[in-house]
Subunit: 156 residues, 2 copies
Amino acid sequence: MSAFQDHYPENLSHCYGCGSHNAHGHQIKTHWDGDETVTHYQPQPFHTAIPGFVYGGLIASLIDCHSTGTAAAAMYRQEGREMDSLPAFRFVTGSLHVDYLKPTPLAGPLELRGRVTEIKGRKVVVESEVIAGGVVTARGVVVAVQMPEGFGSSGA
Amino acid sequence: MSAFQDHYPENLSHCYGCGSHNAHGHQIKTHWDGDETVTHYQPQPFHTAIPGFVYGGLIASLIDCHSTGTAAAAMYRQEGREMDSLPAFRFVTGSLHVDYLKPTPLAGPLELRGRVTEIKGRKVVVESEVIAGGVVTARGVVVAVQMPEGFGSSGA
């Protein structure tokens, strides 16, 4: 089964969090599971906060890229289009909020599950949970916005 | 000049974001500058979102560790104590919020500047800006809480 990220256009495939062309990065893969989106990720031993637990920045990074991927997939789904059809929907993060509920164990795989709570115009809001060993350890909300044409080229 | 992180106890020195013992991590260093705290960080070429710009997860990570360091330093300062005095103040992130205002260029160094906006009981709120080439590209708010005794040992 192909993941959302497998259909990203070339210039989005270098992201440290989700780009399949970034050899140093996390290369997360996200899929639909009914109306939810799912990412599985195995932290590395050095992704530590205090020994044995995941550092908060990794959790924020996973929520971020999981959510922008979910936003793009939701927009395609709303329009009844395949993710490799053109024009491409590309999303950036407007804001990211994470509530850290419990320490997240480093040993096992993490599951992220996301739901779209708002999709309107160029904006998609995604709420996600980070689950470790069946326990929700963090919750995130991302406001994703469609990338403007020329994003980055003018610094605006 | 020593940084806040140089005084962290051994079990906090393995953090990917700020631990001086994490060879893979960012090893950020934070200092006071009057009533503000400052961290400088040079992103690596692979910390990319789209080519030429920093991925959001790195910005969230830097804000996170910059803020927990600021929280600890502020608590010591409030009590008129040196950061290497005991008992150690250790903070974890309760919540993290980031507003991404503009694309953050990858080429140059980043500056984070933080201010304590609330310090009460076991909680410290830190607001930070991420500045690239003199331009504020992101703003963050972290609610940091003193680490409970036995943090992580019971998963609570």
